[in-house]
Protein backbone atom coordinates (compact mmCIF):
# COMPACT_ATOMS: atom_id res chain seq x y z
CA UNK A 1 0.00 0.00 0.00
CA UNK A 2 1.48 3.39 -0.92
CA UNK A 3 1.60 6.28 1.48
CA UNK A 4 0.05 9.62 0.68
CA UNK A 5 1.73 11.37 3.60
CA UNK A 6 5.16 10.51 4.94
CA UNK A 7 7.14 12.35 7.56
CA UNK A 8 10.66 11.58 8.60
CA UNK A 9 11.85 12.90 11.99
CA UNK A 10 9.82 16.06 11.48
CA UNK A 11 10.76 18.57 14.16
CA UNK A 12 9.77 22.13 14.90
CA UNK A 13 11.26 24.48 17.43
CA UNK A 14 9.76 27.84 18.34
CA UNK A 15 12.71 29.48 20.04
CA UNK A 16 13.98 26.99 22.61
CA UNK A 17 10.64 25.15 22.77
CA UNK A 18 10.24 21.97 20.76
CA UNK A 19 6.59 21.77 19.68
CA UNK A 20 6.92 18.82 17.29
CA UNK A 21 9.63 16.34 18.16
CA UNK A 22 11.00 13.97 15.55
CA UNK A 23 7.67 12.76 14.22
CA UNK A 24 7.83 9.95 11.69
CA UNK A 25 4.51 8.76 10.34
CA UNK A 26 2.92 7.34 7.24
CA UNK A 27 -0.65 7.76 6.13
CA UNK A 28 -1.61 5.06 3.62
CA UNK A 29 -3.78 5.88 0.62
CA UNK A 30 -7.48 5.44 1.37
CA UNK A 31 -7.10 5.52 5.14
CA UNK A 32 -8.76 7.85 7.64
CA UNK A 33 -6.13 8.97 10.11
CA UNK A 34 -7.15 10.67 13.36
CA UNK A 35 -4.50 12.85 14.94
CA UNK A 36 -5.10 13.22 18.66
CA UNK A 37 -3.49 15.17 21.40
CA UNK A 38 -4.23 17.51 24.22
CA UNK A 39 -4.11 21.30 23.79
CA UNK A 40 -0.69 22.50 22.58
CA UNK A 41 0.41 18.95 21.80
CA UNK A 42 1.63 20.10 18.37
CA UNK A 43 -1.23 18.85 16.16
CA UNK A 44 -1.83 22.10 14.28
CA UNK A 45 1.88 22.74 13.83
CA UNK A 46 2.35 19.24 12.44
CA UNK A 47 -0.54 19.74 10.01
CA UNK A 48 0.78 23.13 8.95
CA UNK A 49 4.19 21.56 8.27
CA UNK A 50 2.47 18.97 6.08
CA UNK A 51 1.05 21.81 4.00
CA UNK A 52 4.13 24.01 3.82
CA UNK A 53 2.60 26.69 6.03
CA UNK A 54 5.24 26.13 8.70
CA UNK A 55 8.82 25.21 7.87
CA UNK A 56 10.32 22.35 9.88
CA UNK A 57 13.45 22.95 11.93
CA UNK A 58 14.63 19.44 11.07
CA UNK A 59 13.29 16.46 9.21
CA UNK A 60 11.16 16.18 6.13
CA UNK A 61 7.55 15.66 5.12
CA UNK A 62 6.20 14.59 1.77
CA UNK A 63 2.71 14.64 0.30
CA UNK A 64 2.21 12.55 -2.83
CA UNK A 65 6.00 12.08 -2.74
CA UNK A 66 6.56 15.83 -3.08
CA UNK A 67 8.45 17.88 -0.48
CA UNK A 68 5.72 19.40 1.71
CA UNK A 69 7.60 22.66 2.26
CA UNK A 70 7.57 23.35 -1.49
CA UNK A 71 4.26 21.94 -2.69
CA UNK A 72 3.55 22.68 -6.34
CA UNK A 73 0.17 24.12 -7.39
CA UNK A 74 -0.55 20.77 -9.10
CA UNK A 75 -0.19 18.92 -5.79
CA UNK A 76 -2.16 21.54 -3.86
CA UNK A 77 -4.94 20.95 -6.39
CA UNK A 78 -5.14 17.37 -5.07
CA UNK A 79 -5.21 18.37 -1.40
CA UNK A 80 -8.07 20.07 0.43
CA UNK A 81 -7.28 21.76 3.72
CA UNK A 82 -9.72 22.94 6.38
CA UNK A 83 -7.78 25.13 8.76
CA UNK A 84 -8.75 25.40 12.40
CA UNK A 85 -11.63 27.85 12.91
CA UNK A 86 -12.71 27.59 9.25
CA UNK A 87 -11.23 30.86 7.99
CA UNK A 88 -13.27 32.34 5.15
CA UNK A 89 -13.53 35.84 3.74
CA UNK A 90 -16.38 37.14 5.81
CA UNK A 91 -17.39 39.90 3.42
CA UNK A 92 -18.19 37.30 0.76
CA UNK A 93 -21.53 35.64 0.25
CA UNK A 94 -21.61 31.87 -0.02
CA UNK A 95 -21.95 32.28 -3.79
CA UNK A 96 -18.93 34.61 -3.98
CA UNK A 97 -16.87 32.18 -1.90
CA UNK A 98 -17.85 29.42 -4.33
CA UNK A 99 -16.88 31.50 -7.37
CA UNK A 100 -13.58 32.52 -5.78
CA UNK A 101 -12.65 28.91 -5.01
CA UNK A 102 -13.94 27.51 -8.28
CA UNK A 103 -11.57 29.75 -10.24
CA UNK A 104 -8.59 27.82 -8.83
CA UNK A 105 -9.70 24.24 -9.45
CA UNK A 106 -10.04 22.52 -12.78
CA UNK A 107 -11.80 19.60 -11.07
CA UNK A 108 -14.39 21.70 -9.21
CA UNK A 109 -17.65 19.75 -9.02
CA UNK A 110 -20.57 22.18 -9.15
CA UNK A 111 -23.24 19.50 -8.90
CA UNK A 112 -21.73 18.04 -5.78
CA UNK A 113 -21.34 21.49 -4.24
CA UNK A 114 -24.96 22.31 -4.95
CA UNK A 115 -26.06 19.04 -3.33
CA UNK A 116 -24.01 19.72 -0.20
CA UNK A 117 -25.15 23.32 0.12
CA UNK A 118 -28.75 22.15 -0.34
CA UNK A 119 -28.25 19.49 2.30
CA UNK A 120 -26.92 22.09 4.74
CA UNK A 121 -29.65 24.56 3.65
CA UNK A 122 -27.12 27.25 2.82
CA UNK A 123 -28.39 29.72 0.21
CA UNK A 124 -25.75 31.23 -2.12
CA UNK A 125 -26.90 34.72 -1.15
CA UNK A 126 -26.14 34.22 2.55
CA UNK A 127 -23.39 36.50 3.84
CA UNK A 128 -20.61 34.52 5.45
CA UNK A 129 -20.23 37.01 8.29
CA UNK A 130 -23.87 36.37 9.22
CA UNK A 131 -23.45 32.58 9.34
CA UNK A 132 -22.98 30.73 12.60
CA UNK A 133 -19.70 28.97 13.32
CA UNK A 134 -21.31 25.66 12.43
CA UNK A 135 -22.59 26.98 9.11
CA UNK A 136 -19.14 28.35 8.26
CA UNK A 137 -17.74 24.89 8.96
CA UNK A 138 -20.31 23.49 6.55
CA UNK A 139 -19.37 26.01 3.86
CA UNK A 140 -15.69 25.14 4.32
CA UNK A 141 -16.42 21.45 4.05
CA UNK A 142 -18.59 21.94 0.95
CA UNK A 143 -15.87 23.99 -0.75
CA UNK A 144 -13.19 21.46 0.17
CA UNK A 145 -15.18 18.50 -1.08
CA UNK A 146 -16.26 20.21 -4.31
CA UNK A 147 -12.66 20.47 -5.41
CA UNK A 148 -12.63 16.63 -5.57
CA UNK A 149 -9.45 16.23 -3.53
CA UNK A 150 -7.56 12.97 -3.20
CA UNK A 151 -6.40 13.99 0.25
CA UNK A 152 -8.43 15.92 2.79
CA UNK A 153 -6.64 17.46 5.78
CA UNK A 154 -8.84 18.86 8.51
CA UNK A 155 -7.50 20.68 11.55
CA UNK A 156 -9.94 20.21 14.42
CA UNK A 157 -12.96 20.61 12.12
CA UNK A 158 -15.60 20.08 14.81
CA UNK A 159 -14.08 22.46 17.36
CA UNK A 160 -16.75 24.79 18.71
CA UNK A 161 -19.66 23.05 16.99
CA UNK A 162 -22.70 22.00 18.99
CA UNK A 163 -23.58 18.31 19.23
CA UNK A 164 -26.18 18.29 16.46
CA UNK A 165 -24.08 20.24 13.96
CA UNK A 166 -21.07 18.11 14.85
CA UNK A 167 -23.01 14.92 14.20
CA UNK A 168 -24.28 16.30 10.90
CA UNK A 169 -20.77 17.39 9.93
CA UNK A 170 -19.34 13.97 10.73
CA UNK A 171 -22.05 12.16 8.82
CA UNK A 172 -21.21 14.27 5.79
CA UNK A 173 -17.57 13.44 6.33
CA UNK A 174 -18.37 9.74 6.43
CA UNK A 175 -20.23 10.06 3.14
CA UNK A 176 -17.23 11.82 1.66
CA UNK A 177 -14.96 9.05 2.90
CA UNK A 178 -17.11 6.51 1.17
CA UNK A 179 -16.68 8.31 -2.14
CA UNK A 180 -13.75 7.08 -4.18
CA UNK A 181 -11.64 5.96 -1.23
CA UNK A 182 -10.20 9.32 -0.34
CA UNK A 183 -7.43 9.70 2.21
CA UNK A 184 -8.31 11.83 5.20
CA UNK A 185 -6.15 13.15 8.00
CA UNK A 186 -7.89 15.05 10.73
CA UNK A 187 -7.06 16.27 14.17
CA UNK A 188 -9.60 16.43 16.94
CA UNK A 189 -10.12 16.84 20.65
CA UNK A 190 -13.37 14.91 20.50
CA UNK A 191 -12.56 11.26 20.84
CA UNK A 192 -16.07 10.08 20.02
CA UNK A 193 -15.71 11.72 16.60
CA UNK A 194 -12.41 10.02 15.97
CA UNK A 195 -13.74 6.65 17.12
CA UNK A 196 -16.57 6.90 14.61
CA UNK A 197 -14.53 7.66 11.54
CA UNK A 198 -10.81 6.97 11.96
CA UNK A 199 -9.34 3.59 11.12
CA UNK A 200 -5.93 4.63 12.36
CA UNK A 201 -4.85 7.06 15.05
CA UNK A 202 -1.77 8.98 16.04
CA UNK A 203 -1.43 10.49 19.50
CA UNK A 204 0.89 13.41 20.06
CA UNK A 205 2.07 13.99 23.60
CA UNK A 206 4.16 17.13 24.02
CA UNK A 207 5.09 17.03 20.34
CA UNK A 208 6.13 13.36 20.39
CA UNK A 209 4.10 10.85 18.38
CA UNK A 210 3.53 8.25 21.08
CA UNK A 211 0.89 6.25 19.25
CA UNK A 212 0.60 5.42 15.56
CA UNK A 213 -1.54 2.34 15.07
CA UNK A 214 -5.04 1.14 14.13
CA UNK A 215 -7.74 2.61 16.36
CA UNK A 216 -8.97 -0.79 17.50
CA UNK A 217 -5.45 -1.90 18.40
CA UNK A 218 -5.01 1.10 20.71
CA UNK A 219 -8.36 0.56 22.41
CA UNK A 220 -7.75 -3.15 22.90
CA UNK A 221 -4.27 -2.61 24.28
CA UNK A 222 -5.12 -0.30 27.16
CA UNK A 223 -6.69 -1.87 30.24
CA UNK A 224 -7.58 -0.49 33.63
CA UNK A 225 -6.92 -2.95 36.44
CA UNK A 226 -8.82 -2.23 39.66
CA UNK A 227 -7.51 -3.89 42.84
CA UNK A 228 -9.60 -3.67 46.00
CA UNK A 229 -8.01 -3.99 49.45
CA UNK A 230 -9.42 -4.09 52.96
CA UNK A 231 -7.36 -1.04 53.90
CA UNK A 232 -5.15 1.54 52.19
CA UNK A 233 -3.61 -0.03 49.06
CA UNK A 234 0.10 -0.88 49.28
CA UNK A 235 2.66 0.97 47.17
CA UNK A 236 3.85 -0.65 43.96
CA UNK A 237 7.46 -1.85 44.01
CA UNK A 238 9.65 0.77 42.29
CA UNK A 239 12.21 -1.73 41.01
CA UNK A 240 12.23 -3.37 38.61
CA UNK A 241 10.08 -1.00 36.46
CA UNK A 242 6.92 -2.65 35.19
CA UNK A 243 6.84 -2.73 31.40
CA UNK A 244 3.56 -1.37 30.05
CA UNK A 245 2.43 0.29 33.29
CA UNK A 246 1.24 3.74 32.25
CA UNK A 247 -0.24 5.04 35.46
CA UNK A 248 -1.33 4.03 38.94
CA UNK A 249 -3.42 5.85 41.50
CA UNK A 250 -5.14 5.16 44.80
CA UNK A 251 -8.86 5.79 45.18
CA UNK A 252 -9.90 4.98 48.76
CA UNK A 253 -9.23 1.30 49.31
CA UNK A 254 -8.74 0.72 45.61
CA UNK A 255 -5.62 0.80 43.50
CA UNK A 256 -6.17 1.57 39.82
CA UNK A 257 -3.50 0.57 37.34
CA UNK A 258 -3.51 1.59 33.68
CA UNK A 259 -1.62 -1.01 31.71
CA UNK A 260 -0.71 -1.48 28.08
CA UNK A 261 -0.95 -5.09 26.83
CA UNK A 262 -2.16 -6.53 30.13
CA UNK A 263 -0.68 -10.01 30.47
CA UNK A 264 0.47 -12.70 32.88
CA UNK A 265 3.35 -10.64 34.21
CA UNK A 266 0.98 -7.82 35.19
CA UNK A 267 -1.51 -10.27 36.70
CA UNK A 268 1.24 -11.86 38.83
CA UNK A 269 2.38 -8.45 40.02
CA UNK A 270 -1.19 -7.44 40.90
CA UNK A 271 -1.88 -10.68 42.74
CA UNK A 272 1.40 -10.37 44.66
CA UNK A 273 -0.08 -7.28 46.33
CA UNK A 274 -2.78 -9.48 47.93
CA UNK A 275 -5.96 -7.70 46.82
CA UNK A 276 -9.45 -8.77 47.89
CA UNK A 277 -10.54 -8.57 44.29
CA UNK A 278 -9.01 -7.89 40.91
CA UNK A 279 -10.99 -6.53 37.98
CA UNK A 280 -9.70 -5.88 34.44
CA UNK A 281 -11.74 -3.23 32.61
CA UNK A 282 -11.89 -2.48 28.90
CA UNK A 283 -11.88 1.19 27.97
CA UNK A 284 -13.44 3.11 25.13
CA UNK A 285 -11.21 5.34 23.02
CA UNK A 286 -11.88 8.43 25.10
CA UNK A 287 -11.09 6.71 28.39
CA UNK A 288 -8.04 5.01 26.87
CA UNK A 289 -6.80 8.34 25.53
CA UNK A 290 -7.30 10.12 28.85
CA UNK A 291 -5.62 7.38 30.86
CA UNK A 292 -2.77 7.11 28.39
CA UNK A 293 -2.01 10.80 28.02
CA UNK A 294 -2.17 11.69 31.70
CA UNK A 295 0.50 9.20 32.64
CA UNK A 296 4.10 10.31 33.27
CA UNK A 297 4.97 11.48 29.78
CA UNK A 298 8.51 10.27 29.39
CA UNK A 299 7.67 6.76 30.48
CA UNK A 300 4.68 6.29 28.16
CA UNK A 301 4.97 3.16 26.07
CA UNK A 302 5.00 3.92 22.35
CA UNK A 303 2.58 2.17 20.02
CA UNK A 304 3.77 1.77 16.48
CA UNK A 305 2.60 -0.79 13.99
CA UNK A 306 -0.42 -2.59 12.67
CA UNK A 307 -0.83 -5.61 14.90
CA UNK A 308 -0.55 -5.99 18.67
CA UNK A 309 2.71 -7.79 19.29
CA UNK A 310 5.70 -7.50 21.54
CA UNK A 311 7.60 -5.30 19.15
CA UNK A 312 4.71 -2.90 18.70
CA UNK A 313 5.20 -1.46 22.16
CA UNK A 314 8.45 0.19 22.94
CA UNK A 315 9.32 1.03 26.51
CA UNK A 316 10.68 4.55 26.85
CA UNK A 317 12.85 5.91 29.63
CA UNK A 318 11.43 6.18 33.13
CA UNK A 319 10.27 9.63 34.19
Amino acid sequence: MDNVITTDRLTKYYGPQCVVDSVSLQVPRGSVYGLLGRNAAGKSTLIKMLLGMVHPSYGRATIFAEDASRLSPETRQRVAYLAEGHPLYRWMTVGQAVRFNRSFYSTFNDNLLEQILDHFELPPTAKIRRLSHGQRAQVSLALAVAQEPELLILDDPTLGLDTVVRRDFLESLIQIIQRKGRTILFSSHILGDVERVADRIGILVDGVLRVDCPTEHFKESIRKVVLEFDGPPPALPKEPPVAGLVNSRRVGNKLELVVVEFGDEHRRLAESLGPLSLEVLELNLEEAFIEYTRGPKRSLPIFVGDQPNDQSIVRQGVA
Partner: protein, 215 residues
Amino acid sequence: MTRALFAKELRETAGIVLLALAAYVYVATSLTGIRVPPMFLGEEGIPFVGGEFLAAFAFVSAVLVVTLGLRQSLGESYRGTFLLLLHRPASRRRLIAAKLATGTGLYLVCSPLAILAYAWWAATPGTHASPFEWSMTVPVWKLWISMVPLYLASFLTGIRPARWFGTRLAPLAAAGLLVTLVQFVPWWPVFLAAIVLLAAALAASIFFVAGERDY
Protein backbone atom coordinates in the same frame (compact mmCIF):
# COMPACT_ATOMS: atom_id res chain seq x y z
CA MET B 1 -7.74 32.60 -11.18
CA THR B 2 -5.82 35.87 -11.52
CA ARG B 3 -9.06 37.75 -12.11
CA ALA B 4 -10.56 36.25 -8.97
CA LEU B 5 -7.50 37.30 -6.98
CA PHE B 6 -7.63 40.87 -8.32
CA ALA B 7 -11.38 41.06 -7.70
CA LYS B 8 -10.90 39.92 -4.11
CA GLU B 9 -8.14 42.45 -3.47
CA LEU B 10 -10.13 45.26 -5.09
CA ARG B 11 -13.17 44.46 -2.98
CA GLU B 12 -11.14 44.32 0.23
CA THR B 13 -9.38 47.63 -0.39
CA ALA B 14 -12.31 49.50 -1.95
CA GLY B 15 -13.26 51.20 1.32
CA ILE B 16 -9.76 52.55 1.91
CA VAL B 17 -9.46 53.80 -1.66
CA LEU B 18 -12.86 55.52 -1.55
CA LEU B 19 -11.91 57.30 1.67
CA ALA B 20 -8.62 58.38 0.12
CA LEU B 21 -10.42 59.64 -2.98
CA ALA B 22 -12.74 61.68 -0.76
CA ALA B 23 -9.69 63.13 0.99
CA TYR B 24 -8.04 63.99 -2.35
CA VAL B 25 -11.24 65.69 -3.52
CA TYR B 26 -11.34 67.64 -0.28
CA VAL B 27 -7.72 68.79 -0.74
CA ALA B 28 -8.23 69.77 -4.36
CA THR B 29 -11.51 71.59 -3.79
CA SER B 30 -10.26 73.39 -0.68
CA LEU B 31 -7.28 74.81 -2.56
CA THR B 32 -9.31 75.83 -5.60
CA GLY B 33 -11.40 78.23 -3.58
CA ILE B 34 -14.33 75.95 -2.72
CA ARG B 35 -14.10 76.07 1.04
CA VAL B 36 -15.48 72.84 2.47
CA PRO B 37 -15.69 72.77 6.28
CA PRO B 38 -13.86 71.71 8.36
CA MET B 39 -11.10 73.86 6.92
CA PHE B 40 -7.72 72.30 7.58
CA LEU B 41 -5.95 73.91 4.64
CA GLY B 42 -4.94 77.55 4.23
CA GLU B 43 -4.44 79.63 1.06
CA GLU B 44 -1.72 78.32 -1.21
CA GLY B 45 -0.92 81.53 -3.09
CA ILE B 46 0.93 80.16 -6.11
CA PRO B 47 -0.39 76.66 -7.00
CA PHE B 48 2.11 73.82 -6.35
CA VAL B 49 4.68 76.32 -5.07
CA GLY B 50 3.03 77.47 -1.87
CA GLY B 51 3.49 74.04 -0.32
CA GLU B 52 -0.06 73.52 0.95
CA PHE B 53 -1.02 71.06 -1.78
CA LEU B 54 2.29 69.22 -1.54
CA ALA B 55 1.93 68.74 2.22
CA ALA B 56 -1.71 67.69 2.03
CA PHE B 57 -1.03 65.33 -0.88
CA ALA B 58 1.91 63.81 0.99
CA PHE B 59 -0.21 63.28 4.09
CA VAL B 60 -3.20 61.69 2.31
CA SER B 61 -0.97 59.53 0.08
CA ALA B 62 1.17 58.33 2.97
CA VAL B 63 -1.91 57.38 4.98
CA LEU B 64 -3.39 55.65 1.90
CA VAL B 65 -0.31 53.56 1.06
CA VAL B 66 0.43 52.59 4.66
CA THR B 67 -3.19 51.58 5.27
CA LEU B 68 -3.35 49.69 1.98
CA GLY B 69 -0.14 47.77 2.68
CA LEU B 70 -1.12 46.84 6.20
CA ARG B 71 -4.68 45.92 5.21
CA GLN B 72 -3.45 43.53 2.53
CA SER B 73 -0.85 41.84 4.72
CA LEU B 74 -1.78 42.11 8.40
CA GLY B 75 -5.46 41.83 7.51
CA GLU B 76 -4.98 38.29 6.21
CA SER B 77 -2.92 37.35 9.28
CA TYR B 78 -5.46 38.63 11.78
CA ARG B 79 -8.38 36.93 10.07
CA GLY B 80 -6.43 33.70 9.68
CA THR B 81 -7.18 33.75 5.96
CA PHE B 82 -3.53 33.43 4.90
CA LEU B 83 -4.01 29.69 5.50
CA LEU B 84 -6.97 29.73 3.12
CA LEU B 85 -5.33 31.90 0.50
CA LEU B 86 -1.90 30.27 0.44
CA HIS B 87 -3.33 26.80 0.05
CA ARG B 88 -4.98 27.76 -3.25
CA PRO B 89 -3.25 25.94 -6.10
CA ALA B 90 -1.16 28.86 -7.29
CA SER B 91 2.43 29.67 -6.48
CA ARG B 92 2.95 31.77 -3.39
CA ARG B 93 4.81 34.29 -5.55
CA ARG B 94 1.77 34.66 -7.79
CA LEU B 95 -0.63 35.11 -4.89
CA ILE B 96 1.53 37.80 -3.31
CA ALA B 97 2.22 39.44 -6.69
CA ALA B 98 -1.54 39.80 -7.23
CA LYS B 99 -1.79 41.64 -3.92
CA LEU B 100 1.13 43.94 -4.69
CA ALA B 101 -0.04 44.66 -8.22
CA THR B 102 -3.51 45.58 -6.95
CA GLY B 103 -2.21 47.80 -4.15
CA THR B 104 0.36 49.57 -6.31
CA GLY B 105 -2.07 49.91 -9.21
CA LEU B 106 -4.82 51.37 -7.06
CA TYR B 107 -2.49 53.95 -5.57
CA LEU B 108 -0.90 54.89 -8.89
CA VAL B 109 -4.28 55.30 -10.57
CA CYS B 110 -6.29 57.10 -7.92
CA SER B 111 -3.77 59.58 -6.50
CA PRO B 112 -2.92 61.38 -9.79
CA LEU B 113 -6.55 62.35 -10.09
CA ALA B 114 -5.99 64.91 -7.33
CA ILE B 115 -2.82 66.24 -8.96
CA LEU B 116 -4.40 66.43 -12.40
CA ALA B 117 -7.58 68.07 -11.12
CA TYR B 118 -5.63 70.72 -9.21
CA ALA B 119 -3.21 71.25 -12.11
CA TRP B 120 -6.09 71.58 -14.56
CA TRP B 121 -7.62 74.26 -12.34
CA ALA B 122 -4.24 75.98 -11.96
CA ALA B 123 -3.69 75.90 -15.73
CA THR B 124 -7.08 77.40 -16.48
CA PRO B 125 -6.71 81.17 -17.05
CA GLY B 126 -8.63 83.42 -14.73
CA THR B 127 -8.84 81.08 -11.80
CA HIS B 128 -5.98 82.57 -9.76
CA ALA B 129 -3.71 85.60 -9.89
CA SER B 130 -0.39 83.83 -10.39
CA PRO B 131 1.59 82.19 -13.18
CA PHE B 132 1.47 78.44 -13.84
CA GLU B 133 3.97 76.18 -15.58
CA TRP B 134 3.64 72.38 -15.71
CA SER B 135 7.20 72.16 -14.42
CA MET B 136 5.85 73.51 -11.12
CA THR B 137 4.16 70.12 -10.59
CA VAL B 138 7.45 68.18 -10.63
CA PRO B 139 7.87 67.99 -6.81
CA VAL B 140 4.36 66.52 -6.50
CA TRP B 141 5.03 63.91 -9.17
CA LYS B 142 8.26 63.00 -7.37
CA LEU B 143 6.29 62.58 -4.20
CA TRP B 144 3.66 60.54 -6.06
CA ILE B 145 6.14 57.96 -7.31
CA SER B 146 8.01 57.95 -3.98
CA MET B 147 4.97 56.52 -2.26
CA VAL B 148 5.37 53.20 -4.06
CA PRO B 149 8.35 52.12 -1.91
CA LEU B 150 6.44 53.32 1.14
CA TYR B 151 3.52 51.06 0.17
CA LEU B 152 5.87 48.11 -0.29
CA ALA B 153 7.55 48.84 3.04
CA SER B 154 4.17 48.92 4.70
CA PHE B 155 3.26 45.55 3.15
CA LEU B 156 6.61 44.15 4.30
CA THR B 157 5.94 45.50 7.79
CA GLY B 158 2.66 43.64 7.85
CA ILE B 159 3.87 40.34 6.49
CA ARG B 160 7.20 40.13 8.30
CA PRO B 161 7.06 38.43 11.71
CA ALA B 162 8.70 40.40 14.49
CA ARG B 163 8.92 40.18 18.24
CA TRP B 164 7.84 43.74 19.03
CA PHE B 165 6.64 46.96 17.44
CA GLY B 166 10.10 48.45 17.06
CA THR B 167 11.45 45.72 14.83
CA ARG B 168 8.12 45.23 13.10
CA LEU B 169 8.01 48.88 12.05
CA ALA B 170 11.66 48.89 10.97
CA PRO B 171 11.02 48.49 7.20
CA LEU B 172 8.44 51.26 7.25
CA ALA B 173 10.68 53.61 9.24
CA ALA B 174 13.71 52.89 7.03
CA ALA B 175 11.74 53.36 3.81
CA GLY B 176 10.16 56.55 5.15
CA LEU B 177 13.59 57.98 5.89
CA LEU B 178 15.04 56.98 2.51
CA VAL B 179 12.03 58.31 0.61
CA THR B 180 12.33 61.63 2.44
CA LEU B 181 16.06 61.89 1.71
CA VAL B 182 15.64 61.03 -1.95
CA GLN B 183 13.28 64.03 -2.40
CA PHE B 184 16.32 66.26 -2.13
CA VAL B 185 18.10 64.62 -5.08
CA PRO B 186 17.85 67.27 -7.85
CA TRP B 187 18.57 64.96 -10.82
CA TRP B 188 15.58 63.04 -12.17
CA PRO B 189 17.48 59.96 -13.39
CA VAL B 190 19.26 59.53 -10.06
CA PHE B 191 16.03 60.10 -8.19
CA LEU B 192 14.16 57.57 -10.31
CA ALA B 193 16.95 55.01 -10.07
CA ALA B 194 16.95 55.35 -6.28
CA ILE B 195 13.18 54.85 -6.10
CA VAL B 196 13.24 51.86 -8.46
CA LEU B 197 16.13 50.25 -6.56
CA LEU B 198 14.40 50.76 -3.23
CA ALA B 199 11.12 49.37 -4.58
CA ALA B 200 12.89 46.35 -6.10
CA ALA B 201 14.71 45.61 -2.85
CA LEU B 202 11.46 45.84 -0.89
CA ALA B 203 9.55 43.65 -3.37
CA ALA B 204 12.34 41.04 -3.25
CA SER B 205 12.19 41.11 0.56
CA ILE B 206 8.42 40.64 0.49
CA PHE B 207 8.66 37.58 -1.78
CA PHE B 208 11.46 36.15 0.35
CA VAL B 209 9.60 36.65 3.63
CA ALA B 210 6.33 35.34 2.17
CA GLY B 211 8.11 32.18 1.07
CA GLU B 212 10.10 31.57 4.25
CA ARG B 213 7.92 32.68 7.15
CA ASP B 214 5.61 30.43 9.14
CA TYR B 215 1.87 31.04 8.95
